[in-house]
């Protein structure tokens, strides 16, 4: 049996090293160098579903970019979209079908369907967004 020489050792090391390079260099280097996923940019418009997905007197919380918004189909069947973060202490607001208004479960703040703060602690209104209904789809559009 042939002796395992320094040359053999180097050849083996070089071959194994080349493999290791592919396996362990490229992947972590790429992962490390690639920036983490970016927070989604705020879009100007977002399709939030089909009209038939919204029963009268219901609402849906959806993400408009990084921010939650509330899309409401009120008791008369009209659509409204508002930012869903309460202006008091940032809780997520809800739609109350019985009162036909928006309320915040944290401290009982109330807003009308245009987002105006009408009672309780919220100091400012919610921001209103435009809702366009076309071709059976509901799209929320950032107000100009």
């Amino acid at each position: 049996m042939r002796d395992f020489t320094r040359k053999d050792f180097l050849n083996l090391f070089l071959g194994g090293g080349a493999l290791g390079l592919v396996a362990s260099t490229v992947y972590p280097v790429l992962r490390y160098l690639l920036p983490p996923e970016q927070v989604e940019a705020e879009p100007d418009a977002l399709k939030v579903g089909a009209v038939k997905d919204f029963a009268v007197g219901t609402s849906k919380i959806v993400k408009f970019g990084p921010k939650p918004i509330i899309v409401i189909r009120d008791v008369k069947g009209n659509f409204h979209a508002l930012t869903a973060t309460c202006t008091h202490l940032d809780c997520i607001v809800q739609y109350s079908k019985d009162a036909d208004l928006v309320w915040c479960a944290c401290h009982g703040g109330k807003y009308d369907l245009s987002g105006k703060n009408i009672s309780g602690p919220p100091p400012r209104p919610l921001t209103q967004l435009d809702v366009r209904v076309a071709g059976g789809d509901v799209t929320v559009v950032k107000t100009a």
């Binding site: 080349a18 390079l21 972590p28 983490p36």
Partner: protein, 408 residues
């Protein structure tokens, strides 16, 4: 054209005011007080609306002869006595048809409300020192309440009321405390208004009323606080505490939170060592056990929430995207606020139900943050291993080349 019209509209009252003989004489007077009146009236809302001295005090501003200008027979009323001031201002401010010309949305019930206030009642009983319109609004530098320089602008109200109510000498005959201003200033409401500039924070008149100012009674206080703290008031009304408190005529909110010195509530309020419950309940009582149970639930949700925030911040510092963890953390915060509000039901199981949801969300958020940090560390280790491999390869290549060179 529009601009010219605007300029004329602004200039017209100023010109009319300047041409008034009252202004000419009083401005030229040796009496500094008279001069000051003319000067301060220049920025008064009444002057801006085209009114002048004679509009309130009567007389004829066209006459240069003092006797003629200030002839009582020509309607000159001069300076009203303090007792007459509400009626004096009410001449116009209680007239809907007159006020409509200037500001249709301005209320016209101030005089009526004043007559029901403690100030108005005392004045009716002959007390000449109580506040009248000019004490709060000033006499000749009146500005609308929305104007930041107005004495009745939200931020200025504590000082306006405090000018009398914090004056121990002035308040001595009424035997009422004079520490309200100091207490309000250091309260959670005072800090929100005066330090953070939150003009939605309540001031004196939010709870006491303005023209009809009275201290809110036992029955009213929950309504007053409940205007903003809606859930707290509702929960309390349905709590086992409502009935016994009504019987004992306790002030609904103020019994625990005080009236003017309201501080940001902490779980300390429920402490079995120095909490507010001990005012009525014994430390070993069943009620104190409930309070202790509520306190520990709140503390757990609060610490889970704070822990999640710390973990998220640590991950964000490393450049990791924590959007989803932030959503969970937001849900935890919501549950924490709701749990705090639910304290007013005084039912430990109600608080626990909501707090547990918050604890679960906070734990998930913290876990997501920890996972992200682990991911970050793995990447670093990966990079380290890769660098090591590269270095070894370079070394091996170098040795190989030396081998080849020595072989040839």
């Amino acid at each position: 054209m529009k601009r010219l019209l605007m300029a004329l509209l602004i200039a017209w009252p100023a010109a009319a005011f300047a041409q008034s003989q009252c202004v000419k004489c009083h401005a030229a007077s040796d009496d500094a007080k008279q001069k000051a009146i003319v000067k301060s009236f220049a920025s008064d809302i009444h002057r801006e609306k085209g009114l002048s001295c004679h509009s309130c005090h009567g007389g004829d501003p066209a006459k240069s002869d003092m006797g003629e200008a200030m002839n009582p027979e020509a309607g000159f009323t001069g300076v009203p006595s303090r007792a007459d001031i509400p009626k004096f201002c009410g001449k116009c401010h209680s007239q809907p048809s007159f006020m409509k010309k200037y500001n249709p949305s301005l209320p016209v019930d101030q005089e009526l409300k004043y007559s029901t206030s403690v100030h108005g009642q005392k004045r009716k009983a002959g007390d000449d020192k109580v506040a009248v319109c000019s004490d709060c609004h000033t006499a000749h530098a009146i500005r609308p309440a929305k104007d930041p320089v107005s004495s009745v602008y939200a931020k200025n109200i504590p000082q306006t009321c405090g000018r009398c109510h914090a004056d121990a000498k002035l308040m001595a005959p009424y035997k009422i405390p004079t520490d309200q201003l100091a207490k309000y200033t250091r309260s959670v409401h005072g800090k929100a208004l005066l330090e953070k500039g939150d003009s939605a924070a309540p001031v004196c008149n939010t709870c006491h009323g303005n023209h009809g100012a009275v201290p809110p009674g036992v029955a009213d206080i929950s309504q007053v606080c409940g205007m903003c703290h809606v859930n707290n008031a509702e929960f309390f009304k349905s709590s086992p505490m409502a009935e016994p408190w009504a019987k004992r005529k306790f002030h609904l909110c103020a019994t625990c939170h005080t009236a003017h010195d309201i501080q940001h509530p902490t779980t300390q309020l429920l402490s079995s060592e120095n909490g507010v419950c001990l005012k009525c309940h014994r430390p070993e009582s069943k009620q104190l056990q409930v309070a202790t149970g509520i306190k520990s639930e709140l503390e757990l949700v609060e610490s889970s929430y704070a822990g999640a925030e710390k973990a998220i911040l640590a991950a964000e510092e490393k450049g990791m995207d924590m959007a989803e963890a932030r959503d969970l953390w937001g849900a935890a915060r919501m549950s924490m606020y709701q749990a705090r509000t639910t304290v007013h039901t005084f039912r430990a199981q109600d608080v626990a139900k909501i707090a547990d949801q918050g604890i679960a969300s906070a734990r998930k958020a913290a876990q997501a943050a920890l996972d992200a940090v682990t991911d970050f560390r793995n990447r670093r280790v990966g990079l380290g291993v890769a660098t090591l491999f590269i270095s070894l390869l370079v070394l091996a290549l170098y040795l190989k080349m030396r081998d080849i060179e020595s072989g040839s």
